[in-house]
């Protein structure tokens, strides 16, 4: 069947046309675990569906609502679990079908002009998934986990966040029972914005604490490419 008769006129993206040993290993481990009753195929499918559906938008809405509503902000700082219900997240049962016992507490850390928070999990990779989605790869690396607690200012600078020396940096270490999220300060230049517009500038990294929200940058901005200040001139035909 050609493109005309099949009705498919779009060009398909390239795909990997072979199955790697790693892909086979993943499938074999999963099948054996299911056969031995360690979990069911349905458990696995539900975790997969949940993982592929979550993102940082719930966290962005919490922050934007707190910026606009002082009473909600008070609740968010006092009882993050209860406040999360207002954006549809139930920490006691985030997937709707049960989760590991680690989702029992959620605390929100408020930044001030003289105090900046950043979260980490030095022990493993605990992360507030119900409100921020899946953790980025770098969050799980030993590099971030080990160095942030020792040299927070330097590590934040590596993310492009250079804080004045008179701003204290507080690193909050997540653990199996408690998850954290940063409530950054609201930037200026947002007068007249709706709550949804405010939420659009609260990116994932702002809520981890490795970036600050800016009124001129939203989560779905095009990726800028800045010309180099001192471009390297390549030798032709060298």
């Amino acid at each position: 069947m050609d493109e005309k008769t099949s009705g498919h006129t779009h060009k398909t993206a390239p795909m990997v046309e072979e199955v790697s040993d790693f892909e086979v290993l993943e499938l074999a481990v999963r099948e054996l675990a299911i056969e031995k009753g360690l979990f069911t195929a349905q458990d696995h499918r539900r975790f997969t569906e949940w993982a592929e559906s979550i993102g940082p938008s719930a966290g962005s809405r919490l922050v934007a609502k707190a910026w606009r509503d002082p009473e909600f902000k008070e609740l968010l700082l006092k009882d993050g679990v209860k406040a999360s219900l207002e954006v549809g997240v139930d920490w006691m049962n985030p997937t709707g079908f049960g989760t590991p016992s680690d989702y029992t507490d959620f605390r929100v850390l408020e930044d001030t002009p003289k105090l900046h928070h950043v979260i980490v999990c030095t022990l493993c990779s605990c992360y507030p998934r119900p409100v921020l989605g899946m953790s980025p790869e770098w969050y799980r690396t030993p590099n971030y986990r080990r160095r942030l607690v020792r040299w927070p200012r330097q590590v934040l600078a590596e993310f492009g966040l250079q804080l004045p020396l008179d701003v204290e940096i507080r690193v909050e270490d997540s653990n199996q029972k408690c998850r954290f999220m940063v409530l950054p300060m609201c930037p200026s230049g947002h007068e007249g914005w709706s709550q949804d517009e405010l939420a659009s500038i609260v990116t994932r990294d702002c809520m981890i604490g490795v970036a600050l929200p800016r009124a001129d940058r939203t989560v779905d901005d095009p990726r800028p490419l800045h010309p180099a200040v001192k471009p390297v001139h390549h030798h032709q035909g060298a």
Binding site: V16, S20, L25, A28, A51, E52, G98, R140
Partner: protein, 129 residues
């Protein structure tokens, strides 16, 4: 190339691996298997993650839930140790997968022989026409 790195690494595994043993079937995959970075480059694919990555996440979560066969904190600690020894130069998420299988075998949740047999079956099934 990653393959080159893996070959270099094969002869440089630390001799003291925290009292843990290499596992033959996983060593074969570590040294021979094509990692996603190489496959993606070979086929011109831009997706940064292999298609089985989310499934691996779900396996880890499901093992920690319910019967709690492998608690998340213990799996991660084991992965950290293995990442500094046997799987030092393996990229993610292949490293996480090898470490999970290694840990499951060490704990008797699965055994090496049945894993080898199942991999053979899966391979045959996937390639049948």
């Amino acid at each position: 190339m990653t393959t080159r790195k893996k070959q270099d690494h094969a002869s440089s595994i630390p001799t003291e691996n925290l009292g843990r043993d290499a596992i033959g079937v996983l060593e074969a995959i570590r040294t021979r298997g094509k990692v996603w970075d190489d496959l993606a480059r070979q086929y011109g694919v831009t997706n940064p993650d292999p298609p089985w990555k989310t499934s691996l996440f779900s396996t880890c979560e499901a093992l920690a839930a319910g019967t709690c066969a492998l608690p998340a904190i213990e799996r991660r600690a084991s992965e950290d140790d293995l990442s500094e020894s046997f799987y030092q130069n393996v990229p993610q998420p292949e490293r996480e997968l090898l470490a999970l299988a290694h840990t499951m075998i060490e704990r008797g949740l699965i055994n090496e022989d049945e894993l080898m047999r199942r991999m053979r079956d899966v391979h045959q099934r996937i390639h049948s026409v």
